[in-house]
Symmetry: C2
Subunit: 419 residues, 2 copies
């Protein structure tokens, strides 16, 4: 993509009413547009990050046998009444609306109920189980306040996977497999080092749930982290009994702020029972299906990664989710230099390396500032100076020094850094 | 994908309350689940078709320089008041909802207003134009009736592209380029032969708009088609003046039912003027940006293609959008036959050919019926008989005869049929 063609541009100032670091940087860089508090449009560069995150998640869910589907936003009240989650007193984040004939509808804040109803026609016998179904879909939550940028939205994207098992042992096996897939997701997203599995309260149906928490100043949670063992405990369940069961010593714990980037739950028959999702087992007996649910918020991750990695100069994208791998800046308008930059742009793209090519006729300082703000992993400069040496100038986004290397060496570097 | 793993299954009967052919077939085949009238969940096979359609559209929009973004469902009343489209009397398909503080919000039935506001910070000078922005996003329309299955939804997917130009000449050039891209889309979707550009009323701001209409019994429109010239006129604008301007003779026209699968509009300054989307031209003068909008409904296309191509046995998918290219049925459970089918499954996938592998232990008749209902372009049978001959049995979905050919010849056949 040529920067001269990209319709968004960088801005010096963030909007005055935007208090979160992630939204300030993402808006200044032209990645998102704020429609209202907690509701953000994803502009071309922002959508690329979001889709790259979705693709990593999708690949890991498919790798363990997840089957992707897509439920709807509009919700039929009846199924939510069956689980007693329709009343605004019970679920206080509903957006509700109405058909022309005054039938009340909801906008899905989560999707357990419609999911169970959609799969029900296909679950009859023990032979129809187990399976994993998931979607990457918009959720709507009527939050009273929304001041955390894209980290906590009133409209946001969620990957929610559901497991359907016959026995507790089968459920545990699926749960463990999905947990391992989650670790892979965070590693590929570039935040594996700072993301820890965290014991949290499990609600009514299991003793604990597992959160995945990324250590981060903007986080809304406090966790107690055992860095050596790489596990943490959410403050809401921290007591001696829990520590003992996890084999953690209190003196090894560090109190840190963290942002929840995933949450996995054992549901048992919480939804299958009221909604009648049963199967006939090997002994011809009706049994409730045992479920689990497993969430990751891709749009929230855009915010968390911005908060965690962004610096005073701007955004910093891990190589797997950057909108483009390379920010290519041509300095000056000399014919030979422009031709060399054009050729390099074509060459890198032919090699499968995505490039945002700053072909604009603006000062070098402006190009460097934009390269930093936009946050591509590598900045390449082509100028009279680099041309004389038959090399290109390469700088990692967070590196302080530049390197003069050949194009071939750069391609090799990028290959080696792939996760 | 192994059929034994796919959680959906085929059903003999469609739900009694479902009157449209497309929804009946799609539900029986396990492609969609009906949440309520006009609101459908896309199950794994249905989502694959939808995403394949999205990808064809995306590639053609990107090829002409379209920049993808994603606006939101929740809508701020203020911008819609500026264009006088907030009032339910003016736009009668709004779904409305409320924040906790009683602020009224809407669910986007279309996106001109928020799109104009989102791009406005980036349009200042003539140097910032022209450009094309688009999204593939859910629309919500509070239709009184919704009986056409996925062809007319209360919640449905739309690709909407918007052009932003400086002059009428520049707008016309973009409009023509996008029109040509639309023809490519329908050809690649497998309905190019039956889809005709159709002159329709243009509303207040241009004499005509162009619809793309697919000739189809389930269509809601009547068009008058000149098959030789491959153009049509919507009945709403059919008069002598229009025919003369299009150089069409009345006696060459055929009256047919058709389904609208695209619509492109010249908007002039309809939205840019009230929303203040202006630019400073070469002479330092403020000018309104000239816009066009260009829609295609991917979920509607799933329905139209089902109506047009589906037959009494089931779905029929064009090769470019089928969930899988091949339905592979193994007959019997003989070890050698199962091994040959397993090997073929691996071999085809390694060659980049997607396969739904019916590995279930059920009667051949059931497999053949499912193959027809599910509608993959090619059915392959592996049995003792085919094994003896060292070949595979191949049948196109709508062919009446089978062919015994080698795997290599089948791969070549598929390569040659790529559009």
């Amino acid at each position: 993509m040529k920067a001269s063609q990209l319709f968004t541009k960088t801005q010096k100032e963030a909007p005055a009413d935007e208090v979160s670091k992630n939204a300030q940087l993402l808006i200044r860089a032209g990645y998102v547009h704020k429609e209202m508090a907690g509701v953000y449009t994803f502009l071309p560069l922002g959508l690329k990050v979001l889709e790259n995150i979705n693709q990593v998640i999708r690949e890991e869910m498919n790798a363990i046998g997840g089957q992707e589907m897509k439920l709807t936003a509009l919700q039929d009240a009846e199924i939510w009444k069956a689980t007693d989650r329709w009343d605004d007193e019970k679920v206080d984040v509903w957006f509700k609306t109405k058909l022309k004939n005054d039938t009340e509808l909801g906008l899905a804040p989560t999707h357990e109920e419609p999911l169970v109803r959609a799969v029900k026609p296909y679950v009859n016998s023990y032979k129809d189980l187990p399976f994993l179904a998931y979607q990457i879909q918009t959720k709507f939550r009527n939050e009273v306040r929304a001041k955390s940028g894209v980290m906590r939205g009133r409209e946001f994207l969620m990957k929610d996977l559901y497991s359907f098992a016959r026995t507790e042992a089968e459920h545990e096996e699926l749960y463990e497999k999905i947990k391992q897939a989650y670790f892979k997701v965070y590693t590929r997203l570039g935040i594996g080092d700072q993301t820890f599995i965290t014991f949290a309260s499990g609600g009514m149906f299991s003793k604990y749930s597992h959160e995945f928490q990324t250590v981060c100043d903007a986080g809304e949670d406090i966790i107690y982290l055992d860095r050596k063992q790489k596990i943490a405990v959410n403050e809401e369940v921290l007591d001696d009994e829990v520590l003992k069961s996890l084999n953690i010593k209190r003196e090894d714990l560090e109190e840190v702020k963290a942002a929840e980037v995933g949450n996995i739950f054992t549901l048992k028959d919480k939804y299958s029972k009221p909604l009648g999702l049963t199967f006939v087992d090997e002994n011809d007996k009706d049994q409730n299906v045992l479920m689990g649910c497993y969430g990751i918020g891709p749009s929230r991750l855009v915010g968390v990664i911005t908060e965690l990695l962004g610096d005073e100069k701007g955004l910093v994208w891990p190589v797997n989710i950057a909108p483009y791998k390379v920010y290519l800046a041509v300095l000056g308008q000399d014919e030979a230099v422009v031709k060399a930059a054009n050729d390099l742009y074509e060459d890198l793209q032919t090699s499968g390396i995505s490039v945002l090519y700053d072909d604009r006729d603006v000062r070098p300082g402006e190009k460097f500032a934009d390269a930093d703000l936009l946050g591509m992993p590598y900045r390449i400069v082509v100028s009279n100076k680099t041309l004389e040496q038959g090399k290109i100038e390469v700088k990692g986004r967070t590196a302080s020094e530049t390197d003069l290397i050949t194009t071939e060496d750069f391609k090799k570097l990028l290959q080696d850094s792939a996760v």
